[in-house]
Symmetry: C2
Subunit: 152 residues, 2 copies
């Protein structure tokens, strides 16, 4: 990943529908050269996908919560992760260091909906020792941008 690729990523993180000619002009390359670099970045997996970022509130997801989960034993992980992947409300699932095992980011309609996800879906599984829920009252910043480094 050279400095052209870094510039391409910078631009595409903010505007993935840009025309190749315009992207090329911004980075100082011809359109075909820019287009080829973008496909290469996709093949390498550096660009995972191009997606629309939707306003959660306006799309009817007015509640955001973080839920820490503790599992009884390692063999409960498989079914737990399978459930996480199947639930649309689970936006993120991180295996964490510390007191608890997993930290989830959940987006749903309202508190009743959150109760369904936590009390029925998640706690319905075997091996869930406890959950600790943190309600988000306001989101001051939320971005998919990353500080891009030289990579590998």
């Amino acid at each position: 990943m050279d400095s052209f690729d870094m510039k391409i990523i910078e631009v595409l993180m903010d505007n993935s529908r840009i025309k190749w000619a315009d992207l090329a002009a911004q980075i100082g390359l011809s359109a075909p050269a820019a287009a080829e670099r973008v496909s290469r970045l996709q093949e390498q997996g550096i660009i995972k996908k191009f997606g629309a970022l939707i306003d959660a509130d306006l799309a009817g997801c007015e509640l955001t919560a973080f839920v820490a989960v503790s599992l009884a034993r390692p063999e409960h992980r498989g079914p737990f992760l399978q459930l996480m992947n199947s639930l649309a409300e689970i936006q993120e699932c991180h295996h964490i260091a510390g007191e608890d095992d997993y930290l989830l980011k959940i987006r749903c309609r309202n508190t009743k909906d959150l109760d369904r996800v936590i009390s029925h879906e998640i706690k319905g599984l075997e091996g869930i020792i406890r959950t600790k829920t943190t309600i988000v009252m306001d989101t001051a910043k939320e971005t998919t941008r990353l500080p891009i480094h030289k990579g590998r």
Copy 2:
């Protein structure tokens, strides 16, 4: 937001570089009609932006952490939020209910880099009572998809 808009959002969340003609075919509309609906969704703020999703690890951000922050008094919020917005490493900043005031999602290069952000940048501010850091060891799921409801 009618059912055409919901389908459009569904498709665009996964592939924002789709040709309008192909999007139109998927939802059963003509290309100009689809393109017009997309601009309307952007004007309404439902589509916030089109962006590339970058693999954090491959882009050199190998460390993810969640940091809970407590502020001494409400007047410390302004400078704190200003700092959050200025730091590229802060991907998310949520005002939360409970023991702490804010929950941050931080993406950076390594533990040394995290130390710089927390110990120097954040704790360098006045009014920071304490921070509690949770290191992410593995991310099992991370998506920008949302369960789309009827909206408003």
